[in-house]
Symmetry: C2
Subunit: 234 residues, 2 copies
């Protein structure tokens, strides 16, 4: 982790621990510089990150202010690394439907920039929140980057495993959202009716160097599909 | 507009004019500094903005690369200032259902931080794309900031008017998304059936100084609700 990322995390912790609310003013730049014993440019970079993440806003000539944390139970799409953190305090579970190694459909292979006949791990599982269906997930992981998966791993957070065990550095993500109708089979798994609406979220995850490594299709239960997107002033 | 914002726009234009694709490399920092005749720190700030906007990604020790522009017809939620720009090339229209001055519901007044009995402009309109219903909009504009609206203005882009005529400086936006069922009246306006699903987008827009000025509720036609969220590596 880079120095400014560490400082950003510390300021985030400071906001939480002091239970600061929207509009509350943070210490001025000079005081933050002194407090965290880093250079001014490190603090500025850390503040920019917090602004992008939707945790603060900066008003020229006036100060640095806290942005209110969003409603509970809403998934922050700007996070780009799964929803575990947003759903802290909720009981999450997974029912693995299938995990296999395969040559993926052409569209997926193209998106993941695979060679001919290059294999992926294909994972299908039902994500469960507080005992109720949250979403149906289909994920394709390029084996070049995700060298190993098993049933025990995909029972929990795959992203924690990728980050902590495989030391994968996440980069940017493209997320597409739209409404689709559920098929009969999908509806059964979700406890819904055929043709019921679901929120489809299609994501292409890239490594820090720009290479795509995971393509995921999530179909959210209509009662559970709650998303938050904080935009910054840019 | 600040210098680094101007440079960011120029680099964006450079990418468009040279028709660069995902993974294409941009000139190195020193060359950009020379090309745009600004300081290194201005270029760095401009590149950070472009990264946040999902237009480039930076790989330490390797270079600056173009991120592919997203699928046509998808609305980029990270823009935070209406969807006109994303839907360029599509014919957009509005059918104004009502425009009035009123004391808003309590929840709205609280969100907009209004005093007791402070009024808003309330706007209800159907947004139309290529002749078909795109979404049903209900917007509350605090009169303190949006001092004047009329039927002619709300026929077009209210945000263009706020920016260009009222010189309002936009800040950050909180966007919440979920699926709702349409009422009979709403469904009729959209050419759908009662109980059909719609994608509800609830947005609180803030000025550059953090004051909320507009609360909007959009219900998107299920066939037209297509959103894009680019996340960056932060």
């Amino acid at each position: 982790m880079l120095k400014y990322e560490k400082v950003a995390n510390q300021i985030e912790l400071f906001i939480k621990e002091n239970d600061l609310n929207q509009g509350d003013k943070l210490p001025i730049l000079d005081d933050l510089t002194e407090e965290f014993k880093v250079s001014k440019s490190t603090i500025i970079k850390a503040l920019d990150i917090l602004e992008i993440k939707g945790l603060i806003y900066q008003v020229r000539g006036s100060g640095i202010f806290v942005r209110k944390s969003h409603r509970s139970g809403y998934i922050n799409l700007s996070g780009g690394d799964g929803f575990r953190k947003d759903l802290e305090g909720f009981e999450l579970d997974s029912k693995v439907i299938s995990l296999e190694q395969m040559v993926p459909p052409k569209k997926v292979a193209l998106g993941l920039k695979l060679e001919d006949n290059e294999e992926v791990y294909y994972l299908k599982r039902l994500r469960i929140i507080e005992g109720a269906p949250l979403c149906l997930e289909e994920s394709y992981f390029s084996k070049k980057h995700v060298i190993y998966l098993n049933n025990e791993i995909v029972q929990g957070s795959v992203f924690d495993y990728l980050r902590d065990d495989l030391k994968i550095e996440f980069g940017f993500t493209d997320i597409y959202l739209r409404i689709v109708d559920l098929s009969k089979k999908e509806a059964e798994l979700m406890g819904l009716k055929e043709g019921d609406a679901a929120l489809l979220s299609e994501s292409m995850y890239h490594l820090h160097n720009g290479e795509p490594f995971n393509y995921s299709i999530l179909k959210y239960h209509k009662d559970q599909a709650q998303f938050f997107v904080p935009t910054s002033r840019y």
